[in-house]
Amino acid sequence: FRFFTPLEAAVVVALVDTLIPKDDVGPGGVEVGVPIFIDRELAGAYGRGARMYLDGPFGQGTPQQGYQLPLPPADLYRIGIADLNAWCVKTRGGKAFDQLSPADRTAALKAVEAGQAEFAQVPARSFFSILLQNTMEGFFADPMYGGNRNNAVWKMIGFPGAIGMYGDVIEKYRNKRYDVEPKSIQDLS
């Protein structure tokens, strides 16, 4: 891990495993590399908020005005993970998030998602929102970013990936299944 400390990484692995568990439907977020994806994103320009406007003053605003915290994504994660753990310790029998049972993790995340968790520093829902967004990005993005390993997620939903050559088949496969092995950018390069 480039950005997360070992303790943070353990929490992120537990979070991703809760959001996208390995199950009878298909691969889980952890096995396809989503925590690695999030770590790399946060270690780079995205994590620093390189394309965000981060000048003050900072007001809370309305939901319609969007994100207003003075924190780029990397800082929001660092503080959010600490807040989540502290909240879990306080309300879940003295245990940090990654020490909870799978069922308790799910219950805890549902409370965070619903805005029922009181975080000490950042709004719990702001943390949850970016976590869910990045988890989905890592799960479905090209595998070169660290998630969707072996195109496993694209296989699961039947998305051919980066191929994008359908001029000859679009009519022929109208209302028919188009079953091809997905290809990543690396596969095609």
């Binding site: 939901p63 207003q68 990005e137 088949v169 109208r174 950018i185």
Partner: protein, 588 residues
């Protein structure tokens, strides 16, 4: 201190569709032209090469080709009682940056707006009288009619190689085309694109209800094309990476490989990239532009004098520059005085999501940005809207623009946002759902406007543009009325489940809706209610012309690039007349 440069005859600010068209058209005059583009130079090769352009994370999520808001953004509030706060990341709309502008990452939907859209006031008064117009609505005519623009629409369609089918050839209505469109002199340059199963379902369902479906006008090439300027286009692969991406085979019309290189090869045209214009400098009477100030990549400041300045930035950028430069009087919503920032409008969305059984295959990844089947039966001027209690309408369509999975994962309402049940629903519905969308018109209102923010500044120390905007009851009625139509069409498709998407309550700057911001520097016939005359020349500073969607006095139920292109050609013709006799083209 700014370094003062050698004067040019014409200075063009911004190098997207309109800057490119103006540079190419005006290059023929032989006058010296300097074009200033705030972003980087770009070309199809290497910037949009296959397969690396097929990267949803980089281009669609991280906005690689779009405006960098760490440098320039705006502040937003729903109404004047709130404190505007900065748009800290892109969301609701995605302005471009760099050569080609937003015309690089557009979908290619290339409409002619309906005749009503150009003269809504005249036609509303004629059909219904003033009583149907809500008191705060600022309904205004363009000052130029559809018939006057027809030639220029044609020119832009042939520049772009639009694939489509005429529905009104010189007054003769043609089934299978858009029978509600204004009369056109000739067919589209290319035949319609290949439809998907989703499009075919829409077509059949709409016909069964007595509506008039037609293939959407698309600047994605249905076949190889060479435009009248001799520029060759590739054929669309239906790759599904159009909106938010550049096209690797030049099958999507863009200024960066058409008008821009044609202008750049002329000896009298100089294009400077990474040249960010800070303001237009006026004389002390504020009636004449003398120069523009810009900053280069290294932060050095330059003053570029010119006899004529043409603002060709994005709609919001043009208004920002006018306000910063003191071109025209800023709009004051309290008194109704002033015109710069007035008539800012957007669009409103609603519709239906339609879920099918697992034997119906949509292959949503096969698509093109502008590939769609549409109806205009409920668009502006096509039906008795006043009877339904509102002014306006919307275009209804089922698009097949490409189902990339970070952004496209339809699931029925009630599905959790994560966990096993979420995953099961994504897998179940990914290939078996479609959308029916309303692109609803939004009229201008007294309370919706643009001005300068008094608190927040951009990286260059300039006040940010401030947007004050919310949806009004008129538009919400329209969006809900059309959502019901969308549901009816969905039900006629024989689907398992049709989910209605109602009108939004308040406008939010967070979720992506459309990069169709309009107004703020409206064109018109009255200097009290418009910033520009009918030739897009500013009323107050006659050597400044302004192009783009900021000139539209209200928004329509159609994508704006067609009229933006047509108006650029119209303005180029007007500027050629102006250059022979530099004075106001319409007496004030």
């Amino acid at each position: 201190m700014a370094t003062k440069l050698k004067s040019a005859d014409i200075v063009i600010v911004g190098l997207g569709w309109t800057g490119g068209i103006l540079a190419k058209e005006l290059a023929d005059t032989g006058l010296s032209i300097v074009v200033l583009e705030r972003g980087a130079p770009r070309d199809t090769n290497p910037d949009f090469m296959y397969p690396i352009i097929h990267d949803e994370l980089r281009y669609a999520q991280r906005h690689q080709l779009m405006q960098d808001v760490s440098r320039e953004t705006l502040t937003f509030r729903n109404n004047a009682n709130e404190t505007a706060l900065p748009m800290r990341q892109l969301g609701s709309f995605l302005p471009g940056e760099g050569v080609g502008g937003a015309g690089v990452h557009w979908n290619g939907v290339t409409w002619r707006w309906l005749p009503w859209d150009h003269e809504p006031l005249k036609l509303t008064l004629g059909s219904y009288g003033r009583s149907v117009i809500p008191p705060d609505m600022q309904l205004q005519d363009w000052g130029v009619s559809y018939d006057e623009l027809e030639h220029y629409y044609d020119k832009f369609e042939y520049l772009c190689g639009v694939s489509g089918k005429a529905g009104n050839l010189r007054g003769q209505k043609i089934e299978g085309g858009n029978v509600f469109e204004g009369p056109r002199q000739r067919e589209y340059p290319n035949p319609p694109m290949i439809q998907t199963h989703a499009g075919a379902l829409f077509d059949k369902a709409a016909k069964s209800l007595g509506y008039h479906p037609f293939p959407g006008p698309s600047a994605n090439m249905s076949q190889p094309y060479v435009n009248p300027d001799g520029v060759a286009f590739g054929t669309c692969h239906y790759c599904g990476y159009c909106e938010r991406f550049g096209c690797e085979v030049n099958a999507k019309a863009s200024a960066h490989f058409t008008v821009i290189p044609l202008a750049a090869q002329k000896n009298n045209v100089e294009m400077r990239t990474n040249a960010r214009v800070m303001k237009v400098n006026l004389d002390t009477a504020k009636t004449r532009a003398e120069s523009v100030t810009y900053i280069d990549a290294a932060g050095r400041e330059f003053e570029q004098p010119g006899d004529l300045v043409v603002l060709c930035a994005y709609a919001l950028g043009n208004v920002h520059l006018m306000l910063l430069s003191g071109i025209g009087k800023p709009y004051n919503p309290a008194t109704g005085d002033g015109v710069i920032g007035r008539n800012y409008a957007y669009q409103i969305g609603s519709g239906a999501t339609v879920f099918f059984d697992e034997k119906t295959w949509m292959n949503p990844f096969m698509g093109a940005g502008a590939l769609a089947v549409n109806i205009d039966d409920f668009n502006t001027g096509s039906f008795d809207h006043a009877k339904e209690g509102f002014i306006g309408g919307g275009g209804i369509s089922t698009p097949s623009a490409g189902g990339r999975p970070i952004g496209f994962r339809p699931v029925p309402p009630g599905t959790p946002a994560w966990g096993t049940e979420w995953k099961r629903a994504v897998v179940r519905h990914y290939n078996h759902a479609l959308a029916i969308n309303n692109q609803g018109s939004v009229m201008a209102y007294r309370q919706n406007y643009l001005d300068l923010d008094s608190t927040y500044r951009d990286r260059y120390g300039r006040p940010l543009l401030r947007m004050t905007f919310d949806f009004h009851a008129n538009e919400q009625k329209q969006a809900n009325f059309i959502a019901d139509i969308c549901v009816k069409i969905g039900q006629a498709m024989g689907a398992e489940r049709v989910v209605r998407r109602a009108s939004p309550q308040r406008y939010s700057i967070v979720p992506y809706q459309s990069t169709h911001n309009t107004g703020g520097a409206a064109m018109g016939t009255d200097p009290k209610t418009s910033a520009l005359n009918r030739y897009c020349q500013t009323w107050d500073v006659s050597n400044v012309f302004v192009t783009g969607a900021c000139a539209f006095p209200q928004n329509a139920g159609k994508n704006p690039t067609g009229p933006v292109g047509a108006l650029a050609y119209w303005t180029a013709d007007a500027i050629k007349r102006y250059l022979k006799k530099p004075e106001p083209l319409v007496p004030v």
